[in-house]
């Protein structure tokens, strides 16, 4: 074992990754937070302290947009938690059933939407839900529910929920796969022991499997949280940067994009954009901390 010499090879192995990562990810992250403390006055960059944040939270024009975007974002997240993750868990529970035929086929097919880009997903659903084309209304008609049809993406009260459900449709494959993996790792003896005690079928799922996969559900929740709070692409692809109708689908990602890049007559403002990015960073950080310190450490892990 070599000890005293400087081991240059360690530096050589680490350098490229650390350099790229620091220069393109960590440094811009902090630089963005720094930029949020500046403003452009007379073509010059001036330090203004927390004034941008004051504008963001205090100025009614800004704060209204911000709280709207944040509220929408929470609704977006809530729908993912209430619809995507339970469906994912249910599909995984069925798929992990021993000796189920065609399991691999179902699994691959259900995962297909996850690999498609937001652009494809956004437009495909826009076309399908479009009242002009009429696929959705005629399908509802076939089951006698035509009266339920509305141009969902065009109505303020439905648009956000519709987009969230489209996003659920797209990403249900991820919780499904992760839970599936967790379920497969439960040893057969544990289930057999339960069977001897008369715990089978559904109650085996609720009483034995579910407690054992709780850590995976925790991971899925935090992944969903982080993913949702920097979402942008689907809303932009389906509704554009204005997140219509009447900003009803605006979330933090689209709000930041509009502020930072400008749209129509409003000029882009990188400093306000940075302030919004700072707020997003804080929200994600709080979420991750709650998960790491509040949930993950308290969750009981079973030694299998």
């Amino acid at each position: 074992m070599q000890k005293p010499r400087i081991r240059w090879h360690i530096a050589v192995f680490l350098a490229p990754a650390v350099l790229v990562y620091t220069a393109v990810m960590i440094f811009p992250l902090f630089n963005t937070l720094r930029l949020s403390l500046f403003s452009k006055i007379d073509q010059e960059r001036v330090y203004v302290g927390l004034q941008n944040f004051q504008t963001l939270f205090g100025d009614p024009i800004w704060s209204e947009q911000f709280w709207n975007a944040l509220g929408n974002n929470f609704w977006f997240f809530l729908i993912h938690m209430l619809v995507q993750n339970p469906i994912g868990i249910a599909l995984a529970a069925i798929l992990s059933h021993p000796r189920l035929r065609f399991a691999a086929l179902y699994r691959s097919a259900i995962f297909i939407p996850t690999i498609l880009s937001f652009v494809i997903v956004g437009f495909a659903w826009k076309l399908i839900l479009s009242p002009i084309w009429g696929i959705a209304p005629s399908m509802l008609d076939a089951v006698g529910l035509k009266s339920l049809f509305a141009p969902w993406l065009g109505k303020e009260e439905y648009a956000l929920t519709t987009l969230a459900l489209i996003s659920v449709w797209q990403f249900v494959g991820i919780p499904m796969m992760l839970i599936y993996a967790a379920l497969l790792s439960i040893p057969e003896e544990v289930l057999e022991a339960g069977e001897i005690d008369g715990i089978t079928g559904m109650s085996a799922f609720w009483k034995i499997k579910l407690p054992l996969i709780l850590p995976s559900i925790g991971i899925i929740s935090i992944l969903t949280f982080v993913g949702n709070f920097n979402a942008f692409d689907l809303i932009y692809a389906a509704q554009g940067a204005l997140a219509g109708p009447a900003f009803s689908t605006d979330i933090l990602g689209t709000f930041m994009y509009r502020t930072f890049f400008g749209f129509q007559l409003q000029l882009g403002d990188p400093h306000m954009g940075s302030a919004i990015a700072g707020a997003m960073f804080a929200i994600i950080l709080v979420g991750v901390c709650i998960y790491l310190f509040g949930i993950q450490t308290r969750m009981r892990r079973y030694q299998l």
Binding site: R7, F13, I26, T32, A90, I120, I128, E195, G201, P270
Partner: protein, 279 residues
């Protein structure tokens, strides 16, 4: 064995639920694909019918070929994805090797530092990234995208690969050292081939988000000659909203490459996820 857990009625119910969900998952893709081969009239009259001799038409694809530069977009996406994956794997494996193989001061700290990026999305830093790319003249070049995706992919790559590298036997590496191999040779000749399955997993995980990303192409490389397929189809569809044939064909052309990649790599991807690589 397991008599209690198999009951024909249950099995039927399970297949029913899975078939129903599979239909929900595939239906939109199917509708887009079949209608891209139909005439405008047929698209509207019978959206759910398969194209037949009467309704078959390639007019949409012709418009797409004439108006949009989809081969260029495809090529750009290909270059960006392959180059980013190459750098993520090379740099990630090197760093993972350093972290898992050697004991040195600050090892744990370096590991934590590199892991930070797993949870914090790189998009938060977009404003400063754009400024930096403008300052270095990389804006509207594929290099800007490659750098960003490399940085974005590294944290998870280092994390997964170092887990796997810890499992490579020490005896093998020490045997190499006794034979006088340099640390670099040990890494490239002995360790890398052994972690190839893990590298494939990392590659597949990174491939889809890079290929599908809209945010960074839109902000860092929106010029015509650097558009990726995702951005290119977004812009094209935005311009041809009323030309349904063209929109459906453009969508189908964007679906096809990903679908082909998926068919090739799906076993790798699913094995990667289910082997617990992301625990």
């Amino acid at each position: 064995m397991n008599q209690a857990r198999t009951n024909p009625l249950n099995t039927a119910a399970m297949h029913g639920a899975l078939i129903l969900y599979t239909l929900i998952a595939l239906f939109p893709v199917f509708v887009i694909l079949i209608n891209s081969f139909k005439t405008r009239k047929a698209i509207f009259r019978e959206p759910l019918a398969m194209p037949d001799a009467d309704s078959f038409s390639m007019i949409g694809y012709q418009t797409v070929m004439k108006q949009g530069d989809f081969f260029l977009y495809f090529q750009n996406s290909m270059i960006v994805t392959v180059a980013s994956l190459f750098f993520v794997l090379l740099f990630g494996a090197m760093a993972a090797f350093a972290l898992s193989e050697y004991r040195f001061k600050g090892n744990t700290l370096m590991g934590l530092y590199l892991a930070l990026g797993i949870m914090i999305p790189i998009r938060i830093g977009t404003v400063a990234i754009l400024e930096m790319m403008v300052a270095t003249g990389l804006v509207n070049s594929l290099w800007a995208l490659i750098l960003v995706y490399t940085a974005q992919g590294l944290p998870l790559a280092v994390f997964i690969l170092s887990e796997f590298m810890r499992q490579v036997s020490d005896d093998l590496k020490n045997a190499g050292r006794i034979d006088g191999l340099s640390e670099y040779t040990i890494f490239f000749k002995l360790v890398l081939p052994l972690v190839r399955p893990a590298m494939a997993t990392v590659a597949v995980f990174n491939m889809i988000p890079i290929w599908n990303d809209l945010w960074f192409p839109l902000i860092l490389a929106p010029a015509e000659e650097t558009k990726t397929l995702t951005l290119g189809s977004q812009v094209f569809i935005g311009q041809f909203v009323t030309d349904w044939n063209a929109v459906l064909s453009a969508l189908s052309m964007a679906i096809l490459p990903v679908l082909v990649l998926y068919v090739i790599f799906s076993r790798q991807l699913i094995r990667g996820i289910t082997s617990g690589a992301v625990k």
